[in-house]
Symmetry: C2
Subunit: 408 residues, 2 copies
Amino acid sequence: MIYKKLDQPNLLLPKGFSACGTHVGIRKNPNKLDFCLLKSDVVSNAVAVFTTNKFCAGPVIVSRDHIYPSKKLQAIVVNSGNANAGTGEQGIKDSQEITKLIGDKLQMDSSLVAPMSTGVIGNNLPMDKIRNSIDSLNPSSKISNGIDFAEAIKTTDTTSKKSGYKMIIDEKEVHLCGIAKGSGMIHPNMATMLGFITSDVNIDVDCLDELLKESVKYSFNAISVDGDTSTNDSVYVLANGKAQNKELNKNHPAWGDFCDVFQQLCQSLAIQIAKDGEGASKLIVVNVLNAITKEDAVQVGRSVISSNLLKTAMYGNDMNWGRIACAIGYSGVDIDISKTEIYAGDNNEIELMKHGQGLQFDETTAYAYLEQNEIHFTINLNLGNQDAKAWGCDLTNEYVFINGAKRT
Amino acid sequence: MIYKKLDQPNLLLPKGFSACGTHVGIRKNPNKLDFCLLKSDVVSNAVAVFTTNKFCAGPVIVSRDHIYPSKKLQAIVVNSGNANAGTGEQGIKDSQEITKLIGDKLQMDSSLVAPMSTGVIGNNLPMDKIRNSIDSLNPSSKISNGIDFAEAIKTTDTTSKKSGYKMIIDEKEVHLCGIAKGSGMIHPNMATMLGFITSDVNIDVDCLDELLKESVKYSFNAISVDGDTSTNDSVYVLANGKAQNKELNKNHPAWGDFCDVFQQLCQSLAIQIAKDGEGASKLIVVNVLNAITKEDAVQVGRSVISSNLLKTAMYGNDMNWGRIACAIGYSGVDIDISKTEIYAGDNNEIELMKHGQGLQFDETTAYAYLEQNEIHFTINLNLGNQDAKAWGCDLTNEYVFINGAKRT
């Protein structure tokens, strides 16, 4: 299989998908898009992962009901500025009404529409504004419409998160696109943000479901901004088959390559979220080597990138590697201190710890490295042969400022 | 049983205990005490809980070996400014040497001496300075010596943590005293700081062991400052029997009362630590009511006080209760959203959520309440009849400043 990653934002919508975004007044700033729609021309295979937060939002409950067990969907409608969480029965009813309004407009059953909301917790949606805006939604396949969708789902995000791949399967051009949002309330314990992955690939839906669940472990679930798992986290995948390749499944020769590309797309979106963490000034990449299992490797990595103490040290350009050792130690993974090694640097140039003991390193070199906006650590557990990465960001005064500010 | 809590710092050392603190140069500031000793005139019953961090420090390993399985101890030697963690085999050897030096000085077997260190991770102890200072340690039972000990174990603490109770058991005066430290790297998943509890009570050591393990769950393990579980966390209890009461055990009529006092002492020390969290401007108290089990109640409370998003909102005096609902939801405890209630206020005056739905409240009143330096939330799960509390602090710019600053 040949594939190449296309530059953003050239590829946002695969064949047969259209989108749009508009301002309906949920957000105060009239220039901020806050309501958007993504649709497929035909009914798509659809799978999703949702937050495991018990206080999950109304739209999570309704989306889950609409996607499972049918695994079919044709449209997703999203608002930002209001999470429709902590809104009780009314919240569920409002999400259901929105799917009905969109279903009527697009002439499809409301069960083929998934609703999602993101923003402040605890307020009911302004349904009048939403009802009045349905007519103004006009999805198209233009690039600018995909960009509008990506803009409309943003909350405290400073950038929109997008990734697109093109590949050839059975001599057919197949597109895989992803749009995501997330900046605060990001913690690796489940799907940790909103992600919308679309493809024109023809694929067995059960294989797709498995692929998504496996891929999020090492992408969306391998990042952390602040340790808080949101009430609304969801990643959706829609595959409409318009590429007309032979149905992809585990027996198809291109299956392995497609899984790799899918994983890369998920990681690309996840890294963009970690990098744009609220108030973050730098991306922290932790590469864990030679764990007994891949799950162990990602668990150690997540523990390290979630450490407030490491995150503040990174903000202060302080190579306080003891905080990494500490976070490895409380990760819950069985480690052997005497075998553990810690390195910093894009090529592991700065040796920090071996055999459980700190090494002498040049503080000036270390400080200069930490001034970069992307910091790499490598942890070699020397226990097995499984590797994984995790991504996070520093904890800054700006984070405290953003989250200490009034909701309004 | 009659008991009363004595005002600090009147009661720091029970009968038969002595202490001292000195400056040996581990910390740069010559006015900062950094080395100290606590001893009993006679061999004491001793129990302890230690960090579950796999990267535990040398002194944790040596202390555990000296206390278990014998459950006997006569002295504890502590330094601040250096955690002796991430120091490999040498770290263990250094801790062992210190117990030997103290044992020789006090003419007791080194296995009766427990070592402890607290401070920066990753540097070997300056053993020459320590060896040279052994002669200058002169423990006495004077109040000022107890105060010196409490001062010498501080790191970023702005206050020393002390609590003392006096009670009558079998017509004998019994004293129970506690000294603790902790300000950063505090997270409720195990013993989360250093605590030294001493008593002249005559008590069965296995009962004491059980009592400590039960009490830490609802005191030291019910607080969080920053979500990081330290490499050195330890709580020690020494009981030397000098009060000459009949041996306390589960069949003694005063057992229940003694357990209550012990729990109060642990909670008092834990609250002092939460209140003095690095950079904290206020104490946050979360009272969880009507859980199915007491463990569930404390788990919900710990989840809430650990939320970075709630902690920053508290710093900003923003009654963003949705972040409390979110943290209840990801606590891992099975809850029923439709039954959950959230209140703020010393007497639950501010109703925030009922039946999983937000309520209207007066923002001005809420802001004024959050400006206090002690904030109370009550979460009623309405599922059972078990209650527990958890204590935390806000996340401030000062925290970021303290932890972003260079180690030196």
